[in-house]
Symmetry: C2
Subunit: 278 residues, 2 copies
């Protein structure tokens, strides 16, 4: 496995793969890899001749008061894990390589960014679309892999790719969890010991909520009570929306999602399931 840092080297690699008739699977990450990322690589490996992983903590998707500077980084550990999972190339560019100048042009996710995480993270999904657009173009990928844990990101990217005819497919990969149910996340390292004990209650609240939805009951107030009872963190949101279009017209595919702000970590989790019509 090679690691490169420049667009020029990446272009050369992509040209070589293309010339050899190989398909490319892209796994975009911000590094500090965990088993969720490994599952993305495994899926990419199954469906493509070669797997490219990008590792780039994208400043454009962090707000001014967010954790860009202290976002966890460990390139050596990432390289070992990526290689073990079967990655062929890591692209780990500098910020200056990706953003050599400020562009006049912006991409706005619109309505889809007004729910869930978009509410408390203004501009976050603009930054996500900015970097994935560049990575999609640079990588020449046939398929790109994203985890369901970042479900709103996934829905917005799917819409972007479909509505603007990007020549690649987006693959949705299920959330990987700890044994106690906590969704794997690079930000879990920020949790205090006590918060780590509380954090599995996010998934439990979702399970409770899903059962209530199946019974035709609005789950938000019961889930709120449950989380207040069991978590010291502040609830940012609990929402039930259609998926992937993220409207309040929930019938068919739906997402039940929540975010809880602990002292140093803001955790998100969700379940996607089918609601049967009346």
């Amino acid at each position: 496995m090679r690691t490169i840092e420049t667009i020029k080297e990446l272009q050369q690699w992509v040209d070589e793969r293309r010339a050899a008739g190989e398909s490319i699977g892209l796994v975009p990450t911000m590094g500090f890899l965990h088993e969720g990322h490994m599952k993305l690589v495994e899926r990419a490996k199954e469906e493509n001749d070669t797997v490219l992983m990008s590792i780039f903590v994208n400043p454009a998707q962090f707000g001014p008061n967010e954790d860009f500077e202290r976002y966890p980084r460990d390139m050596e550990r990432d390289k070992t894990m990526a290689e073990e999972a079967g990655t062929d190339l890591i692209f780990a560019p500098s910020v200056g390589e990706i953003y050599p100048r400020e562009s006049s042009i912006t991409i706005s996710p619109g309505r889809m960014a007004e729910e869930l995480c978009g509410k408390s993270r203004p501009g976050h999904f603009d930054g996500v679309l900015k970097v994935v657009t560049k990575l999609f173009h640079l990588s020449g990928a046939d398929r790109a892999y994203f985890g369901q844990k970042d479900a709103q990101q996934l829905a917005i990217i799917e819409s972007w790719v479909e509505d603007f005819n990007f020549p690649l497919k987006i693959r949705r990969v299920g959330t990987v969890r700890e044994k106690d149910g906590l969704a794997k996340s690079s930000r879990n390292v920020y949790l205090s010991d006590q918060e780590r004990v509380e954090a599995p209650h996010l998934k439990k609240a979702l399970d409770i909520g899903q059962e209530m939805v199946a019974d035709g009951i609005d789950p938000i107030s019961a889930m709120t009570d449950y989380l207040i009872e069991n978590c010291s963190g502040r609830i940012d949101y609990i929402q039930l929306l259609s998926y992937p279009d993220l409207t309040e017209n929930v019938e068919g595919e739906a997402i039940l999602a929540l975010a809880v702000q602990f002292e140093k970590a803001r955790l998100i989790d969700n379940l996607i399931f089918t609601i049967k019509g009346n």
Copy 2:
């Protein structure tokens, strides 16, 4: 030469060209072709194995009070001209084929759309970026060809392609003019006989302005007087800006551009030249 109307057929053609190792030159047009378009095809032909022309009057780039409905169309004549110039494939999709649903996501050109045509055509360049993004992705083009007459469009597209790493090159092709200097345009057919006699004064005003700029004199007021004297149309703007970044810091490459609204036709024209520093 073939003409196709669906994305599916286009994708098949692109796959075949790619498999044969052929490079693709894209000439995006709104049809009602003239010699300016023919020059784009010729340039594309020189630099690529195969030439794809799109013909699509893009509703997204017309304002509610603009001329989308009455924009001139003549597909049979276009086919003959495109074939004579060496076009290999025409892609002429319906509006529903290009825009099957309203997207939540938009592309905003920002500061670069606040000058020149952007001022009197709000949303115009959003619509241009929307359609070229789709065409760039669908065509798999190595190079795309645009005329200098639409200089602001060209500058915005160049910036979009560079800042977001599209895997294609934009080629700028010089304006083609009538013998009397009038820039070729599909909209020239809207001119009355009297307006057609006046219209070459747009180019003359630009020539006068360029000489004044060379002499270090601000040309706007003299050009305004000249056009009021010689044209019945209403001046929309006359501006001198840096090019292609479109700022008021003019040294080096600059654009002197104007727009005049005649009764049924809004005509634009420009010169791009180098201003020597003091």
